[in-house]
Subunit: 328 residues, 4 copies
């Protein structure tokens, strides 16, 4: 029975708490939050103890930590946890600085601890199915990956301002997904973007509509586009075109009902919120983490994957500002 | 070059004229209609000669006739044409009386002429594809056939009154389709129905909503339902469930466009009108007729198929009026 | 906090235990099973106490019972529970005898207790969505209901023998669904069926392929077909045709992935097992039960609904054996 | 009755001949081809006269010409036809040189003749439906256009060598479509590409897999990808994301049949060949040309549209070779 400490009891920390509760081989040993009331509320709901984060990391009865705190605290918590020999599940992004992520790689290596980077979409049953079938050779050599990813509505401006921009906050998921599916590192990125949804986002120095073209040394291509708005729900589509076939994942709709009348045939919108859309993926993600710790097998995606995605995001931001393709 | 006389220049006669014009190995030799102006109009459009029907049947330069006149004239025209040695394409129903269709079978047999019964749906590319795959064993033994068939809107009451009722006018297509797909004759029929769309249809002694259950000696089942109304276009769906799989044909929509917005995902209505829906089937049907005449191979569906469908329709009407299952 | 006793710790009792555990306003107070080890196993997993069933019914700390025992024990447990003033969640069928269900109606009435009949499909998000939209008038007057329902594979022969036959065991779900959707009682049923999947099922006196036509006094029609086999997963489709539109629910597939290659475009099979297919429905069902008990509002479907479905199933069985339509 | 001369009797000339034959207000007056036998064959099939191209252009009984000859002859034929006052339907590309297309614009302007550039896809019922709905405001402001366009298999190498490259030969259709849908000119293009399908294509100096990102001054984005191979048929998908909704056109499949079995649910491949896929579009295109000539209203797309698409294709080729975004 893995005894896990949850660091950060906000929305995503609570999601991970629910996942742990549903697993037969893990339990929530303790929870921590900078806001004591938040920690106490989750403690009450889960029956775990509310403690200080450093305290949890130092506890000998805790085997693993889930780092679900604000991004700027990840670095210190990863360092401390790795030194204390705890297995680490760290939410994405690991850090806004590629160099600091490199520091994390070193300390994780030295500590020899399990590390899972929280790219939850790899655990979506649809996308994982595509990846497994690519690896099994079902579509031959991958040639073009197309990712359409749109949020149902933009986050608050305050969030935008501290998010690091659309490439580091939102498209980073797609960068990781593209790497996951392609199985070859990208060698170049070109980005365009504009604030078409909300001029205030532009005023805040960010864009809300963006498109990126990635290429590999062998000539494979990935096109990604993002929008901070989708009227029809949470839009998450992926298509992989290969020499022997094509695999694509459509959106998950709210239900399977179709209405037919004079206006045509109408299905329900896509599931709206990321927690609803990726509910099962979060559970599979935590199950993988726990299993990795228990079995000693490496967790995937690891800290290195976190670094790679961050490097692409940085380069995309640079491409957007310079108007030039950037080598990776 | 097959030289064809068209008897009856109404809507369906004109459809067949267009099909003949599109075929490389057939031409319209002459056209006839009880209304001379109708014959002349089609003659003008096609470059064919307008003649009297009996004249066409007697002409030595005419190889084949398309009988597209009102149902109550089919009998005499079939008799005369078969005796004159003409190949016959006869619109459905051949006749309202099974006994008179038996007469037609005899005269066609004696004459040794090609006979095609105008069940156009067998030539629909979707339904023909299903039939071919059943015959190829793709779904094993057929167990359940489900047919949903709905007209976009009811015909005029005057038409209803002389139509012979929903089973002989509308569901007869489905009876033929069920026989085509199943490959085994039905042994029993049970029917229910009501006038739910228009009380006037009920007052005219007919129903506008009907459902039938057919069974074969070996226990296979076919369920059919009809409505004289479908808000979303011309509804023509077929599903065949077998021991090794299931084949189904969905409706043909007006286009492939989908709109996504807050109301969900909306596609276009189904093609609305039977001429539009079955345009390609009518052409394939005529091509099969011409090829059969040219090659001497039997045309399918033949006059016997016309009889079988009529017998089922009669029995369904009897079942509806008696409330009892009727043996075939 | 509703304190619930689970009577019967088999597969379905365990499903309900999981649902209760996931609800914030209910807990499992005690569990019972004729096989003590089964009760103990569930007790261990849930932290509840294993007791004797009669003991649970008599316990003053237990507010409600879930009856998930074999069908022939339902009657006595319902009687005892109702007399003890416990709210009752009883799995379908309530009993194989309509008269005995009438007894249950009386004792539940006298006791004034909440009663939920376990027709879980009413709580499926897709079917519930259709029902709500019918009630809201979205498709006008309902005219034709079509239900296609196929199990992925037949149950063991031993189960078939004690099941009461396909109408009372399997199609009873569809009878309840048809009543749920139609909002008018049926006045007649006609049934056909055969053992096409497995001759042994026929030898056991049952059929594995069956079709039923139901009609109401006002002429509305429902066609249902069942098969004990579906090669492509658990097949559960419903379509309701009305005067202003049509609503239909398609199957829930394993995932949203589509493969395109020379053979065409292929999606995954339907979810295979009923526990997987109706996982969310079971949770919503239990939530409704708990809410009904807490609020005092009547639970739906109730014991009367259980009776109605059983009466239709009995009549369908009679129709199959007599070959005649049966009035309800 | 418009009397049309067809210049070039190859595959596409024959397509246009069929379209003209199907129109009530146009006829084929004469046909010409550099290979006399090709002209004679089409003359025989259509009943038109085979003449020399210059002869046709000079004939006073000919009102319009269809230029379906090799690209390098377009320029002279356009010049001559415009000077002779003939309405012109010219296949794409008008010419490989933007400057020479500018010459054509001048001569067409001076002659005041109708000119239709043969971008047939604008006349596809699906894409035309999307465009009309965008113009009607159904999805608000257009933000992202995504075009996936893949040929079923590469053309012969000899064709590749003289094609002008993938951007001028294949993606030019998508450039025109993007302009058609967006309603705003593009200001920048960035292209990547590689020979992934066939190394010989690379050796011939071209790529077979390419992706382009276009942007407008107002920040709108268009992503296009092309492949010379698609295992599942002719792949032609378009999606337009706007502020109020999204419109997308799916592929046209061979039929509507779906097979369900243990492998899942399988539909037919997409229509394979461009003549089959765009059969109806070619007819609508010719109908628009004839109607424009008859009514005197300008034909769309015109010679200016041909120039714009060519300019984008040239810039895309330049971007691919330099690795830099190119301003338009």
């Amino acid at each position: 029975m893995l005894n896990i400490g949850i660091l950060g009891c906000g929305r995503i920390g609570q999601v991970h708490a629910r996942s742990i509760a549903a697993l037969p081989n893990a339990r929530i040993g303790a929870v921590a939050d900078a806001v004591p009331a938040a920690a106490q509320a989750l403690a009450d709901r889960t029956g775990a103890e509310a403690r200080d984060a450093q305290d949890i990391i130092a506890s000998s009865d805790i085997n693993a930590v889930v780092i679900a705190t604000p991004t700027d605290t990840h670095y210190d918590l990863v360092q401390a946890s790795a030194r204390a020999g705890k297995a680490i599940f760290c939410e994405k992004p690991i850090d806004m600085s590629a160099d600091r992520i490199r520091d994390c790689i070193r300390v994780v290596d030295v500590g020899g601890v399990t590390f899972l980077a929280g790219f939850n979409r790899r655990f979506d049953t649809n996308f994982a199915n595509i990846e497994a079938r690519i690896r099994a050779g079902e579509i031959g050599e991958v040639e073009i990956v197309t990712i359409l990813s749109r949020d149902p509505s933009p986050p608050p401006l305050a969030y935008i301002r501290s998010s690091g921009g659309i490439f580091r906050d939102m498209m980073i998921h797609d960068f990781d997904m593209a790497r996951f599916l392609l199985g070859e590192e990208f060698s170049q990125v070109f980005a365009v973007g504009a604030a078409l949804v909300d001029a205030e986002i532009g005023a805040a120095g960010d864009v809300d509509t963006a498109a990126v073209t990635l290429t590999t040394a062998s000539g494979r291509i990935c096109q990604i586009s993002n929008s901070r708005r989708a009227t029809y729900g949470y839009d998450q589509r992926i298509e992989v075109h290969g020499s022997k076939g094509m695999l694509r994942a459509e959106n998950m709709l709210e239900n399977t009902v179709e209405l037919g009348n004079g206006a045509g045939f109408r299905k329900s919108p896509a599931k709206y919120f990321f927690l609803e859309r990726y509910e099962a993926a979060y559970l599979r993600e935590m199950a993988h983490f726990v299993e990795s710790v228990v079995s000693g097998a490496p967790a995937r995606p690891g800290v290195e994957d976190g670094l790679r995605a961050q490097i692409i995001a940085d380069a995309a931001a640079q491409s957007l500002s310079t108007g030039k393709a950037v080598k990776l």
